[in-house]
Symmetry: C2
Subunit: 219 residues, 2 copies
């Protein structure tokens, strides 16, 4: 027992300042993502975030200064993952593979990082006051590229004429993110039990099939 405490002390005393900052910022970001997801920007309190991170409240302010700044950092960190999933869409030339992998990646993200998706949803629902700039630049550009690909596939008769390609993209976003944002509703309608990994994989395949059929491709 004594050894354990000493060992911990030693390890702690050798943690470099750099590592300390890195680790604490990570811990705080993870805690903040959860709390913001549940309560929104205004509803979340720095005390709640501190408790979740198991740190004193002053520490949160030390590392992130204001609640709003912390919130922005959370949004940015979510965007990184989001853009990674987005990239998968453009790494395939054939619509079947592009949709299959993109929808799959979005579903995985909903499963792995549901809190991030919820924070994002909250932000958009409340008018995207902090994210409008990013949406109308980075996201817009990515969407324009996707719309181009989809339109080409329609012209080449590789998929059905879906009208405005945005409609299709929105359907994919909405459907995949539903499993993160509305997971409590999904849980309730699954007899109160959270989807198991197996059930989720099944859902993922079904969503992929629905999307493929919706553009006239046979799964």
């Amino acid at each position: 027992m004594g050894n354990g405490i000493v060992a911990e002390k030693v390890r702690s005393s050798t943690r470099s300042k750099e590592k300390i900052r890195e680790e604490n910022e990570r811990i705080i970001l993870i805690a903040a993502e959860k709390v913001f997801a549940k309560h929104g920007l205004k509803g979340a309190t720095t005390k709640q975030i501190a408790d979740m991170a198991k740190l004193p409240k002053s520490n949160i302010h030390y590392y992130f200064h204001t609640k709003l700044n912390l919130y922005r950092c959370v949004l940015e960190s979510i965007l990184v993952d989001w853009m990674k999933a987005a990239d998968t869409f453009n790494t395939f030339n054939e619509p079947r593979e592009a949709f299959r992998y993109y929808v799959g990646a979005k579903m995985d993200l909903s499963r792995i990082r549901p809190f991030g998706s919820k924070v994002w949803a909250n932000e958009i629902i409340s008018g995207a006051p902090e994210m409008e700039a990013i949406l109308s630049s980075r996201l817009k550009k990515w969407v324009d590229t996707c719309v181009g690909s989809i339109n080409t596939w329609v012209e080449l008769k590789k998929i059905s004429n879906v009208g405005d390609a945005h409609t299709l993209l929105y359907m994919i976003w909405a459907t995949t993110q539903h499993y993160a944002d509305f997971e409590y509703q999904v849980k309730i309608l699954n007899n109160g039990k959270r989807l198991t990994d197996e059930e989720f994989e099944e859902k993922k395949q079904q969503v992929i099939d629905l999307v493929l059929r919706s553009v006239g491709l046979n799964p």
Copy 2:
């Protein structure tokens, strides 16, 4: 000008108590729906709701006592419209018509009452603390009926095998509600301009077509 004031005075002085209560409750509910949609339960302040309703704050408390009670009333009033749209699904025996009208009704609701949809979304995202009971009773029952219909259609080979029918329902909900909950994002990606009525009707038709194809029906 003088006449206007007098006329108003007279009309006001003949307003019955019953009408006064009815009208004020309506005004407050509409204002609250907007404010709750934008800021969530905790983020919304009774002052904001009062200002939106053009009434003093005390008046809000006089009619609804607490903020939480007002919030519950807003949720309930949304549920009424929601269930009306839900009914359309079971008034058709053929899948093509059922999906067409149900998806249409949900899209219309997103257009007409976007704030209600947002309040609902916020509630589910934050864990449905006020609505869990309703979800696991009324909504669950309705969903079970729908799932039954869909499964029958699959058995009769009227639509493709969609696997778990819940997946399809979630896709419909998510896609239609996206136009309410994420309307700011839709606006930004539509070059900053809100969808016109004509554009929305087009989207509605495209969403219907996507859904029909997704279950193997030719639109």
